[in-house]
Amino acid sequence: MTSESQRRRVFWQILLFAAGLVVLTAISAGSVYLVNKARDDSKWVVHTIEAENQINALLLEVRRAESSARGFLLTQKPDFQSDHEKAVAAIVPALDKLTRQIGDNPAQRDSIEKLSAAIETRLDQFSREMNFVKQGQPDMATALVREASGGDITTTIGNLANAMIREEERLFRVRSANSDQSQTLAASLTGIGSGLVVVLALISIWLMQRSARLRDEAEARLRDANVNLETIVDERTADLREANDEIQRFAYIVSHDLRSPLVNIMGFTSELEELGGDIFRRVSSLTHIPADGPPLVPGSTGEFALDGPDQQLSADFSEALGFIKSSIAKMDRLISAILNLTREGRREFQPEKINTRDFVETIVSTLAHQAVEAQAEIHIEALPNIVSDRLALEQIFSNLIDNAIKYLKSGIPGEIRIRGRTKLGYAIFEISDNGRGIDAKDHQRIFDLFRRAGTQDKPGQGIGLAHVRALVRRLGGTMSVSSELNAGSTFTITLPIAWNATKRNADK
């Protein structure tokens, strides 16, 4: 999985979340607004109904006043009179209330003014009628009633009131519709918003599932890759081990088989040498027939005299054989060295606890003779104890100390120091001398097989350090050198404090 696609997914998730938040906020705001509006609308609807009621109540009071006035006119009973007075008293407040209630509507304001005027006129007529009746002139009152009904005031009042009711009913319809609309809107908004949120949530879940699936797939791939990697590493390790074993076997067989013809070469060279001796003795006996004695018996030992050219021949012969023999001897040493190296490479190491100081002291005591000869003093400082292979460690230390003694500067008392310390589970040993030192360009070369550095005035095959480094590596450590020409050398070995052979042996 690339980081690009991962970034994109994170971006989409954040976007979705933000969108969900925005939608929720919008829905909340819209809902609050619409609910408020719906409440307003409902209030207006209620107001309209109240106004209509008030109109009806007013009309009722007017009718009551009228009917009670007529009753009084016909019967002159005081009951009707008091009823009429109550009705008239209720009319004015009712009218006032109605005026207040519908004051917001200009159309209704006109109507109410007209209604007020009509009602006032009618009230005036009522009071005159009542006065005529009280004064005992019912005829006048009856005429007045006739006149009133003729003037159609009552009708006018009824018409006006009806018009107003119609207007209120229209308003009621309009306001009800408004209210319905607001509520529908609020419901729709909530519905759509909820839908959106659900959709966003679904998308989010889908994205999360996809991401989880991708992650699982990636994990599976990683697991596979790890398993593959382990298999590959195992295979490679096995291959390497096989190749290494092969090289060891090869080196062993080759050095072995090289030895066989070498035995012949050396053997017959020696035979040849003897033959040469015989031949030249013979030549000598033939050319030098001594005057004062018997000729030399061929094959007899002892000096034999030869003339100039014959002597030269004999010398050349011996020289040639000498070179052949020294070369064979050298070759034999090299082959032995290779054999020893392969043998070391095949040896199983046995880690054991080593008291390093005692151990190094023992090694130094075996080299004491050489040290005295080279006028060298060896100082052993405190050394950390380690768990390692005793034999390998012995070869490492004796090689290095031997080298230090061997390559001292002649004429200067040698001083060799063996120091030790620990660091992070490793023991670090330093073997330093004040000897001839090694040129920086040779620092790598001295660890190569059959390679040496500096003045070649000491015997050696160039094997020691190669061998030491191979051993150190097999013990799980490293080694290095720091040195300057004529300023001494320090060889540093880093070895694990508790080396565990099981891993390596298990690998085998």
Partner: protein, 146 residues
Amino acid sequence: MTQPVNIIMIEDDEGHARLIERNIRRSGVNNEIISFANGTEAMKHLFGADGSGIAQKGNALLILLDLNLPDMSGIDILKQIKENKYLKASPVVVLTTTDDSQEIKRCYELGCNVYITKPVNYENFANAIRQLGLFFSVIQVPPAAP
């Protein structure tokens, strides 16, 4: 002990065979030396056509054996000699270039009487062979089991 001891030399390298023979002779041993350059022929001679070893019944033998043979391992030959009732009493001298301690140990375990590593240094080689000659002269080679 009137019967002369025959020396059987199994050595594939002619040069080695010659050097060994010469040095044996120089040490004054004059017994007959029968050489074989490969294992198969030597086995045929030792064990006979039927492979039972009865052909050598009653013969006194001393066997010089090289371990690196072209057709078979000297160790196998040693093992078979020491497992054969007619031959097991014959002394076997292993003479080879191998100086691996494991190999030497193995040979002695199988019953080899002397193990000599052929040194490249001829002086040592000649000495070893001459001492072997000395060894031949003092050793009582028993006749193979009757």
